[in-house]
């Protein structure tokens, strides 16, 4: 194992150790900072009661729908805008107007439009993901080397579909994929908030537990999100490396 990995592991152990020490010392009440040693038991209890599986599945469902819708629309619209200068000019001020609105500010409209529903949660999650992908896809497509587009044209690939397939999408892939990866993380960050207003999922369970001062349950779900994010990011990077294996390492 490399020195870096060892140091990283050592840092993590020291962090958890200090957390445990502070929690046990009695300086801080256990409800304010539950000791990490008690967390496995809490997790087992959540699993045996069936909460953990149900909440993770529900959140995963909102997350995946939001992720696919937001990513697909973000990449599609970002690409289209980068391809057509007229569209680009027309969208500039719309994007400036809507972009700074945080996804959570859409909660009232999400409820009015979709009710307290899974769709509402997925909608809120998709907004942040949409903007990330919109801007990265836009920049990636704008950055495609025009010489390669001319090359493809000189070998007969002149239609928009052929240009997209033979040049633009593969050339923009590194940028588009980095946007997709950033969106993957952004999505997990909004999942909890999107469920706070009563939609079944990790966020809702955390709110319930917090209301009862069951802070160890809150922490179990915080770590669950970290784990789910870590897993999805790892899987994505593996896929990304495969798609981009042509890049100079």
């Amino acid at each position: 194992m490399s020195k870096r990995v060892l140091l990283g592991a050592a840092g993590l152990i020291v962090f958890v150790g200090m957390w445990e020490a502070v929690a046990r010392s009695g300086v801080i009440a256990a409800t304010l900072l539950p000791p990490p040693a008690g967390l496995p038991a809490t997790l087992i209890s959540e699993i045996s009661l069936g909460f953990w599986q149900a909440m993770v599945l529900a959140s995963l469902n909102h997350y995946l729908i939001g992720l696919f819708v937001g990513s697909f629309l973000g990449v599609a619209v970002g690409t289209a805008v980068a391809l057509f200068p007229t569209l680009d000019a027309a969208q500039a001020w719309i994007a400036r107007l809507l972009r700074p609105i945080p996804p959570l500010a859409w909660i009232p409209f999400a409820i009015i439009w979709f009710g307290i529903s899974e769709t509402a949660a997925a909608f809120i999650i998709s907004i942040g993901i949409f903007w990330i992908n919109y801007f990265t896809a836009h920049a990636a497509v704008r950055g495609v080397d025009p010489d390669l587009i001319e090359l493809a044209a000189s070998f007969g690939h002149r239609s928009l579909a052929a240009r997209l397939r033979k040049v633009i999408l593969p050339a923009a892939a590194p940028g588009i994929l980095s946007g997709l990866r950033a969106g993957l993380g952004q999505g997990w960050m909004t999942v909890v908030a999107a469920e706070l207003f009563g939609i079944t999922g990790i966020g809702q369970r955390m709110m319930e537990a917090a209301g009862l001062l069951a802070t160890e349950v809150v922490i179990v779900y915080m770590l669950t999100i970290a784990l789910l994010y870590g897993l999805s990011d790892m899987l994505f990077v593996a896929a990304q490396n495969r798609v981009l294996r042509w890049q100079r390492s």
Binding site: L151, F155, K166, P170, A171
Partner: protein
């Protein structure tokens, strides 16, 4: 005469400008002929190639392409100065670029790609990525990609301009060998006069503003040529003198 492509009074003015890049260019390339275009930078040499390739439309004039139209080949293929390989494709798939979209079966495509790679001495390089190649190898792939579509006319835009002297000479000789074996017509742009007179049957000097074909030189020296042969270097000196004469008169730049 069996001209493969004939330009008749071609002029080009880019949209938004009123100074033509070139005007009234008449030029015919015979089947199997090796024609060189030289001229100062900015004289419109590369632009002329793009007009012939159909990437740009001339403002006036007529281009007659007497190339053989067949669904399994492209009559004109281009080689660029920077090899322009797609970094996300392996060498083999870069060479196949022009075959995609033609009526060529998978097996036939593979055969033609392998044949083009073999011709360029790259038979064992098919699986490489572009970044694993040297500058000379990249340019070989660029030429193989053009040969794979079996064109009647090869348009070459300063293909060896960015290479070191040794690699350039090697590739010049290989190009002559392939030209001899395949009988393709070649229109080759360069700013290197020695390269021009070593390779060409005919050298056209492009100059003036707007540019026209100022002079044409027949290089009759027998092949294979010696780079230092009197006849070759004599024509080279004439072209160089004419080219600097153009500068003295303020044309071409």
């Amino acid at each position: 005469m069996a001209a493969i492509v004939e330009l008749d009074g071609i002029s080009l003015t880019f949209a938004g400008t009123n100074a033509p890049v070139f005007s009234e260019i008449d030029l015919g390339i015979e089947r199997g002929e090796f024609v060189i275009v030289v001229g100062a930078s900015g004289a419109g040499k590369s632009t002329l190639l793009r007009v012939i390739a159909g990437l740009l439309s001339p403002s006036t004039g007529r281009i007659a392409r007497k190339t053989e139209e067949r669904p399994d080949r492209r009559p004109i293929a281009m080689v660029f100065q920077e090899a322009r390989l797609m970094p996300w494709r392996r060498v083999r798939d870069n060479v196949a670029l022009g075959l995609e979209g033609l009526a060529v079966e998978r097996a036939e495509r593979d055969r033609r790609v392998a044949e083009a790679l073999r011709l360029m001495g790259l038979a064992s390089f098919g699986d490489r990525w572009a970044h694993e190649l040297s500058g000379g190898q990249r340019q070989r792939v660029g030429i193989a990609r053009a040969l794979a579509v079996d064109p009647d006319l090869l348009l070459m835009d300063e293909p060896f301009g960015a290479l070191d002297a040794i690699t350039r000479q090697t590739l010049q000789d290989e190009l002559l060998r392939i030209w001899g074996e395949t009988g393709k017509s070649i229109l080759f742009v360069t700013h290197d006069i020695d390269e021009a007179v070593y390779l060409g049957d005919r050298v056209l000097l492009l100059g003036g503003s707007p540019a026209t074909v100022v002079r044409s030189y027949e290089v009759t020296a027998p092949r294979p040529r010696n780079r230092d042969a009197d006849e070759v270097s004599r024509i080279g000196s004439t072209v160089k003198a004419d080219l600097s004469g153009l500068f003295d008169h303020g044309g071409g730049i």
